[in-house]
Assembly symmetry: C2
Homo-oligomer: 349 residues x 2
DNA sequence: GCGTCGAATTCGATCGATCAAGTCGCGAGG
DNA sequence: CCTCGCGACTTGATCGATCGAATTCGACGC
């Protein structure tokens, strides 16, 4: 087989020669077309077209200092619990970035050594030092995660998906989903369908995210003057925990519906119902949180709070561009309201 | 707020000065340490450490022509059917790339204009022209997809996840999962559990991927001398199609088990069973394909063929490195054998 | 003592773009 | 008539690394 190399892409100089102008003029034709006489502009554009020219990203990056790349860390599989949301989010982010002229660079947190706490920062550090990306999107803003403060210390540009729970004064831009509004929506939906004894199945008390979501349920119940005593349980975010806890709750408090902090927990409830011969929907209402792929396909369809990830992505990129342009950002961040995807698990007979 | 910029990262020259050597020596310390005298090497490394130096990627890219970036196209949500596999694959790819010193750059296929067929190639073209990535991983190798041949024409380096179904002589490296082996495994598993009338629920006949998977079922049945007449149905890859088709099949052929071409179809079968008051597992065995997140959590757990995506990613990156090093590659590609994730849907009472 | 060889290190040019500072031509203003 | 200003375009330097070739240095043989 002949080892024929791909043809070398044309450079600015090639275009300049063909159009009979200087390099800088071609550069201007691309970056500030208003500077050129219409006639010259047309000639240059024609040459660009003819050669199929596109600026070399490396050269541009070197000179301008901007790679037009946004770094996103993939959380390793271990941390990966109910986060089936990630895929939809990555999609949305790639799309929003593209519209702003950016690409998404994925990286991981370095090798996971058994028995050692993985170094969450290694990946960020390497990319930062080598000026590989213009900015980061940080997604794991749970309590005690050092990423945000570490990045802020280094003055690295980043935007967080998730509120800075641990530090109200951190002052970096963020975008988040209003969890309380979501569960309020879920609870009101169940109330409308005639449920009164609506249980909360959530996470441990030290999860700010979980407590935020719980608050929405609490508020909606309180607004109707309904008691919540004995109707709330807090467990780990696993299928089994949801299974066990919902079974216990059915025995002790006889709820007719469950609002859950995650789809994972909600699926656990569905397991319990299947095991007891109860029908999700007609017999017991169930609402999850995340609107994961699972919610869409599990029989009979899981009603779930749907985070507006497309909007989140757009807002994140918007905040990023402001940040990179050194425009001041809203200190308060952006809070977006989820919707409710209604399915069989809240249908009445 | 003071607009304090992040400190400028140190350059090669800074390190050289601190270590009292020339720039080139520092470069050698990084790229060919064997060239240096141990004592000099130590001095340079110390300086690198002290300054926290990492080579500027843009400069390196410009000079060497290699960005150490692998391009991966996110298929738009529309094309996204049962492909919940994507997330696991992306994870695996990021990890395998990292180990080889690469990062993954995500892009999308350009704006989806209503009424127009999206241009699958636009994204590839732009990245290729601007020399933004060293190579591509192509994932949608279904029949009639122009990506592979288009890239090959331009001599763009790429490796395919998926066999070149439409062109046996295409000659580019590829890695794929042996679908027939997977369904053979699934069928044998059901046979061992005592099933005899095992149905096939698959895709349309023009899907080579689907026919490959179907062949495995056929082979396993034939090996036991079992008839397959009337036990195979081919439908679209949707939940509803799986639901409807499995219901019809139960009525006409009374199978005791289903092997499905996808988890989506298998979940459709589960719906049918729920609707009829049949228990997945004890009453009717069901096996899916993909081992998606859904399979893991849907009650009572869906037994599913699990593609070895981590292995796939490793082989893809391996092939890519060979390709970029201009080493000859196996014309035949790499075919990997899936495993079977056994869960409740094939448990016997 | 001198030439030779190879290991270790240095020097200058270069990748392809943009920045900063020019040059050129032309028309208006003094 | 000359200058000034301004629009349109050009020129040389630069970003930070690596490539290719040149240079220094010490050891060794004769």
């Amino acid at each position: 087989m002949v080892d024929d190399q791909p043809p070398l892409p044309p450079t600015l100089a090639d275009v300049a020669e063909l159009a009979g102008v200087s390099r800088q003029t071609v550069s201007n034709a691309i970056n500030s077309p208003a500077l050129l006489r219409p006639e010259t502009l047309a000639r240059v554009q024609h040459a660009i077209e003819a050669l199929g020219y596109a600026p070399n990203r490396a050269a541009r990056h070197l000179r301008t200092g901007s790679s037009r790349l946004i770094g996103l860390r993939m959380s390793p599989a271990q941390e990966f619990t109910a986060d089936a949301t990630m895929d939809r989010f990555v999609h949305a982010l790639v799309e929003a970035s593209r519209e702003a002229g950016y690409h998404v660079l994925l990286f991981s947190g370095g090798p996971v050594v058994a028995g050692e706490r993985p170094d969450l920062l290694a990946g960020y550090d390497a990319l930062l030092r080598s000026t590989a990306v213009d900015a980061f999107i940080v997604t794991d803003t749970y309590l005690g995660n050092p990423q945000a403060s570490w990045l802020a210390e280094r003055r690295a540009p980043f935007v967080a998906f998730g509120r800075p729970w641990d530090d109200e004064t951190s002052g970096h831009p963020w975008v988040d989903v209003d969890g309380a509004a979501g569960t309020r929506l879920a609870t009101e939906h169940l109330l409308e369908r005639g449920h009164q004894r609506i249980a909360w199945l959530g996470w441990r008390e030290d999860s700010r995210l979980g407590e935020d979501r719980r608050a929405g349920w609490e508020q909606a119940m309180a607004a109707r003057g309904l008691a919540t005593d004995g109707l709330a349980v807090r467990v780990e975010d696993t299928l089994d925990a949801g299974w066990t806890a919902s079974a216990a709750l059915l025995d002790t408090a006889a709820p007719t519906a469950f609002v859950c902090a995650s789809d994972t927990l909600a699926i656990g409830v569905l397991h319990t119902l299947v095991a007891r011969g109860l029908r999700a929907g007609p017999d017991v209402g169930v609402v999850g949180f995340d609107d994961s792929q699972v919610a869409q396909v599990v029989p009979p369809g899981l009603t779930s709070v749907r985070p507006p990830l497309e909007q989140v992505a757009v807002e994140l990129v918007r905040a990023l561009r402001r940040l990179l342009a050194h425009e001041p950002h809203q200190a308060e961040g952006v809070l977006l309201t989820p919707t409710l995807a209604v399915r069989g698990s809240t249908a009445r007979g």
